[in-house]
Amino acid sequence: MANADCIVIQGSNMAECHPVGFQWVAEAKARGAKIIHVDPRFTRTSAIADKHIPIRAGSDVVLLGALINHVLTNDLWFKEYVVAYTNAATLVNEDFRDTEDLGGLFSGFDPETGQYDPATWAYAEPGGDGVESPGGGHEHGASAGARAAGDEHGSGGPPLEHAQLQRDETLQHPRTVFQILRRHYARYTPEMVRDVCGIDVDDFAYLARAITENSGRERTTCFAYAVGWTQHTLGAQFIRTAAILQLLLGNVGRPGSGIMALRGHASIQGSTDIPTLFNLLGGYLPMPSAGRHDTLQEYLESIASKKQKGFWTDADAYTVSLLKAWWGDAAREDNDWAYDYLPRLTGPHGTYQTVTAMLAGQVEGYFLLGQNPAVGSANGRQQRLAMSHLKWLVVRDLNLIESATWWKDGPEIASGELRTEDIETEVFFLPAASHVEKAGSFTQTQRLLQWRHKAVEPPSECQSELQFFFALGQRIRQRLAGSADERDRPLLDLTWDYRTDSRGDPDSESVLAEINGYHLAGPDAGQPLSSYTQMRADGSTAGGCWIYTGVYAGGVNRAASRVPHGGPGPSQSEWGWAWPANRRILYNRASADPDGKPWSERKKYIWWDEEQGRWVGNDVPDFVADRAPGSRPDPDLGGAAALAGDDPFIMQADGKGWLFAPKGMVDGPLPAHYEPQESPVANALYPQQQSPARVTFARTDNLSAPSAGTPGADVYPYVFTTYRLTEHHTAGGMSRWLPYLSELQPEMFCEVSPELAAERGLENYGWATIISPRAAIEARVLVTERMTPLVIRGRIVHQVGLPYHWGVGSDAVVSGDGANDLLGVTLDPNVQIQESKAGSCDIRAGRRPQGAELLRLVGEYQARSGATIETDNVRITDPAREILDPRRED
């Protein structure tokens, strides 16, 4: 980011939530970069930005879409880059219909499942049909959504059957991606931005000028986002919109370019690379689904076709190496490398589905590790009540967090909904070691693995996660020893042989060595792999996460590299280790023009060296090292061999950056604006109010506020948004127990504008009660001009800001009502993230009632609004104006 000429921070409060990473923004600013912050609130990020642009929460696609339209209509796009490196020239098949044609739906919507069949979004084939997915047919959105298939694209794009495509490099054909894009965003105008986002036309012009003047050969613009973009019913599409814009401006794969995903804490990136998610295996390999992936063959075919381009075609080598790492000698060719030992998905097993299953009495036990859902998850009451249905609950944490004490001092005890003596859940609290008390790696936002050494021994019985799970595995295996039951084989055959110290504790570096992988056969048997290209599908290699291969090359822990300032090179490659292959900028082939020359001296990074016949430069080239710029191999070769000299996007099935996504997104090939699940504003772009493919939970404990245009919409007239403060950490487990941090932000508060304070009689630093259809909470009031009322089509829309760090309990230094109790649960279908950045509420002066009175207050509001489980949960808002295509014969 330090190399950017303009940085747009949107959907993120970077200075407050990533103060250490913000040093690079500060450095860019010191070098003259323009910093723009687009956010509902004026925050500490806005304070040192050149400009703050207030926006209505949840309307970002309109702003970004209007920027796309501005760039296209004013011919400000980076032509050579777009034509050569993106799919702008690719033809889409003729059955595709856009939201412009169908009243807000794309072709293929299935109102019964509430999901899309993406078959019509496919690229056109030279023969005339659409390019299919490998294995035949497209996966219906209903099943792709159920396994949150979008998560699989953490390291590369979705598969295509082959890469024989039709292209029109003049971009004139009406079915080119470029022309489709142009039509799709034609109505996203500055005036639409004013009317939907509340951003005036001058501010839009300022933003448009800033990013276009700072893009092109000589300059680059970079975007940064965090959960302000992701936590929406169309969160993944927010990021897609930015990706389209950045591709059009040539801001991908170059120094100071890109879209920076700012992860929430120390190793959240690591927890998706080596996942703690229900739907992924290591390195973004999908978790197999029952019925779809019954054999290894079916599974591998679904990941990538051997005929598509790029490095995903070697998914068989990555998968077999993973199975060898886990099951060693028990993984043999004749048992498909123990593929059947892997569990299978039978539906969405995300956190919110698990909670509803708990409420239905279908879950017996629950492990909580570094997670405080009683405070940190949406609809906190639902979370706590669900836990009361468990037989047992294990909480491993640094402190007695609210998720471990809800049964004695939670809000439901106070309201009388739960009585301690009636709760049958057995709660175990196991103390955890902190990050300074254990060795291991963190993978941060930039894909950088950094090793941390143990500074002190953990006190008393505190254990690291590694110690805990290693010991748990040993005990379970002892219990099962000698079992003849087939179902116990996966546990008994696991390679559970990490190096241990004198106390029997596993050595974390030996886990890293397994993740890196090693040769099993040949002269190098036992030696670490140095690159994922060494992985084989014949059982001769093992490795726990293909994208991490190389971190332990030569038996050296490269995550522990700590050359000051990362060494002399501009990519600072000697500090930590970045996956893959210690590459600091992904897709960096795009930093050179189609002929392999740097776009400009100022932004040179990787280029083709004619004499050496190789790509060289300031980083590890993200390309086939000796593939000349002008090469045009036969696409039928498949894999890396099929990549042309101007296919920089080596993890995409066609080697191009995707403006239009023929696959991979379950809720549309192009981002379209829909309002949040509950919104006081009607969708100005389409008759369809909410994202049609969103995942809903129509339950009485999860009611939604009536949206604009429906009766009762005025009962919850304000928008609220939740966020974090620098002084606290997420649900507070690591900060509200620390006196030094607690004193800095001691009390739950809400932020309101002076105008809203006047409208509702709120006093600065007095109390307010905030009511949603799920809960009512109290907070101290901060009346501040940092909150701006927005004018949306002549009407004032007020937003209420709520930090979510506090929870109700008795053990922390500071406690308070939890903002997340106000949230409902509605999810993005690509990745199953909840919409927590925009909701509807009312606010009034004074403290909330206590005990059963509190429930009566919530119930009285619900009754007045007329909310039922149908409210906001219909699939098609206006059947008269929206068209289902292909037409269904009912």
Binding site: F22, E743, L744, V814
Partner: protein
């Protein structure tokens, strides 16, 4: 006692043989993000107890309030609208038109400063924003002429070889004279009150380890214990945006003067220096600041003056009075005789 006013090298003045360069802080508030990491790092390193009563202070995001016996770094948060921003710009411009790039820019002492007053100040300020949020991390000033040190009767306060001012807790008798002697209100006695982990509502929240140094004067030491080991003070070390810089005071003053000139050239004429003028009432401070408004806005005295600066004059006047009284007495005796 050494020199009481005006520019001097305080360590040399305190009879240190061959002192090194004077050390100090330069806090550039224009790049502060208000993360308060300095407050926390300071407390952790110095093992200072939690302060305050765990309730919102009613002062934007500031909940520690002010510097005190247990809070040695304090971040102020000031929310301002357009009118106030324009006033700040005008007052900053006025400083330049007086030939000073900022309040307290050394007018004569530092020849380097003269050249930094931008010859041609950009006359086109950027659009005045509608709103801004100032953040500034305050700290002990480590004055050239330190009131606290000069009035300390026990010698508990001393001038270090780095030119900084440090309390020796085991010598201090808690008399509190220094508290009145500090023109910035920095030094305080640590009382039981600040240490008890209770709220105004009387709830007991969280356990604290036993509080050290109760009853004696406490303030920032510029991490003397770290400096003698060649380490950077905890706050500067932790600052993510380099808003807090540590180094040789001369170099920091030069850097700060350049930074003011740079901001003025960008049209941010509200930028000014605080504490960098060796001719001010405390002889300049070891901790200097780049501010974006008048010092009062940040809770800093606009024209700090060490009380002992007037000592010679007071002695002269007292002497004069004594002479007068003696003369009067003598006169009365003489008169009586006559």
């Amino acid at each position: 006692m050494g020199q009481l006013t005006g520019p001097t090298d305080p360590a040399a003045d305190a009879r240190w043989h061959d002192p090194g360069p004077r050390k100090g802080f330069f806090t550039d508030t224009s790049i502060c993000i208000g993360c308060k990491a300095c407050e926390v790092a300071c407390k952790e390193w110095n093992r200072n107890p939690r302060d305050g009563d765990l309730e919102l202070l009613g002062s934007s995001y500031d909940n520690t309030g002010a510097l005190g016996a247990s809070t040695w770094r304090h971040v102020a948060f000031i929310e301002q609208g357009r009118d106030r921003i324009e006033e700040a710009r005008a007052s900053g411009r006025a400083l330049v038109s007086l030939g000073m790039p900022g309040l307290g820019a050394p007018a004569t002492a530092d020849p380097a400063a003269v050249s930094t007053a931008p010859a041609a100040v950009s006359t086109a300020p950027p659009d005045t924003p509608e709103f801004r949020w100032l953040m500034s991390s305050d700290v002990c000033k480590h004055c050239t002429h330190a009131g606290c040190l000069d009035v300390c009767p026990t010698g508990a306060l001393f001038r270090t070889e780095f030119g900084t001012v440090v309390v020796q807790a085991d010598v201090c008798n808690g008399c509190g004279t220094c508290v009145a002697g500090c023109p910035f209100g920095v030094i305080e006695r640590r009382t039981d009150g600040t240490a008890a982990p209770k709220t105004k509502r009387g709830e007991r929240k969280g356990e604290q380890p036993p509080v050290p140094n109760i009853g004696v004067a406490q303030k920032c030491t510029l991490c003397y214990d770290r400096m003698v080991e060649g380490q950077t003070p905890a706050c500067a070390k932790t600052c993510p945006t380099t808003s807090i810089k540590f180094g040789d005071r001369d170099e920091l003053v030069a850097q700060a003067t350049d930074r003011v000139a740079e901001l003025h050239a960008e049209g941010m004429t509200e930028a000014r220096l605080y504490g960098a003028n060796d001719l001010d009432g405390v002889g300049g401070t070891g901790s200097i600041f780049l501010l974006l408004d008048e010092p009062e806005v940040y809770g800093l005295p606009p024209d700090p003056r060490v009380p002992t600066a007037d000592l010679p004059q007071m002695f002269r006047q007292a002497g004069l009075a004594a002479v007068g009284m003696i003369a009067a007495a003598a006169l009365s005796f003489l008169k009586g005789r006559s």
